[in-house]
Amino acid sequence: MSRATLYFYHFCRLTLGAVYLYAGVVKSADVVVFARDVANYQLLPYAWNYLTAATLPYVETVAALLLLCNRKVRPAALVLTSLTLVFMVALTTVLARGLDIDCGCFNPGQGHTSAGVALLRDAFLLIPAFVTLHLSGRMAKP
């Protein structure tokens, strides 16, 4: 792996980790409000919105911390890539149903980020996610 590729890999790893660490920490700070944001998607029975809100930020935080600490990078990147894809599917259904809701991606209850903008942002986030996932596999090889 060239030096430039190595730098690019670490840049992607740290970017992905930082974004998801921020998302996880701010959402875990107010789980009830985040549960309301999840409920706005109208995809889950209401109690499951609370279960999702109570656990999802912690999954994001754990995986993000591993990426930032350069530990278990590949599985952590897989978790965050999978979550990003799940969010994109959920946001696509929001657009398809014409719902005007806040995505609840970062600060719950603060501001309003439309599903279209959030979908675009997640699409960009897939780039460092896939790069980290792919290159961490190459780095693991002898």
């Binding site: 309301r36 109690a47 279960l51 599985p75």
Partner: protein, 171 residues
């Protein structure tokens, strides 16, 4: 399956599980209450954010209710509370709903306190999913001491689209 991929997937599952366990350990009471349909706890959270310990079972935040429950509760004497602006209320609202625009909280609160007892079951609604006003109003009314505050997240659009009775006119 390729051994490396299998290991990666197992490790990813473990990371996911650790996150879930951590989340549940920090929010066990919330999740249990949600699944029990009893979103309450011994610690109430007033609007100022200060935690108040209580010996009684104080509702910590508004309990979400769905359309069928709203119909049953209203039939049983619950009071619908409309958190939308007065002019939107006038265009159509749930039968006998109390107009309580969140933006006019300070002006409307004295009348509300006078007319509605703290033991009443309140069903707050606004413009449906994505509208936070009913939830925010619910939190404030809980802080005022109302004991049974629920939020109908489907709000007026779902009620109207279900073909249920709608009243028109200013409060």
């Amino acid at each position: 399956m390729i051994p490396g991929i299998r290991t990666m997937m197992i490790e990813a599952a473990v990371i996911f599980a650790i996150g879930v366990v951590l989340g549940l350990s920090f929010n066990a009471q919330l999740v249990l209450d949600a699944f029990a349909g009893r979103l309450s706890s011994a610690g109430a959270r007033p609007s100022g954010g200060e935690v108040v310990q209580s010996t009684v079972d104080v509702q910590a935040f508004p309990l979400p209710v769905v359309l069928e429950e709203v119909r049953e509760l209203l039939a049983g004497g619950a009071l619908a509370v409309d958190a939308r602006a007065a002019e939107v209320y006038a265009e159509g609202h749930l039968p006998k709903a109390f107009a309580f625009p969140l933006g006019e909280y300070d002006q409307v609160l004295p009348e509300f306190l006078e007319k509605v007892s703290k033991e009443s079951t309140l069903i707050l609604y606004c413009s449906g999913f994505g509208c936070p006003d009913s939830f925010d109003l619910g939190e404030r009314l809980l802080a005022e001491g109302y004991l049974d505050v629920r939020v109908y997240e489907g709000g007026f659009p779902e009620w109207r689209d279900a073909g249920l009775p709608v009243e028109e006119g200013a409060p």
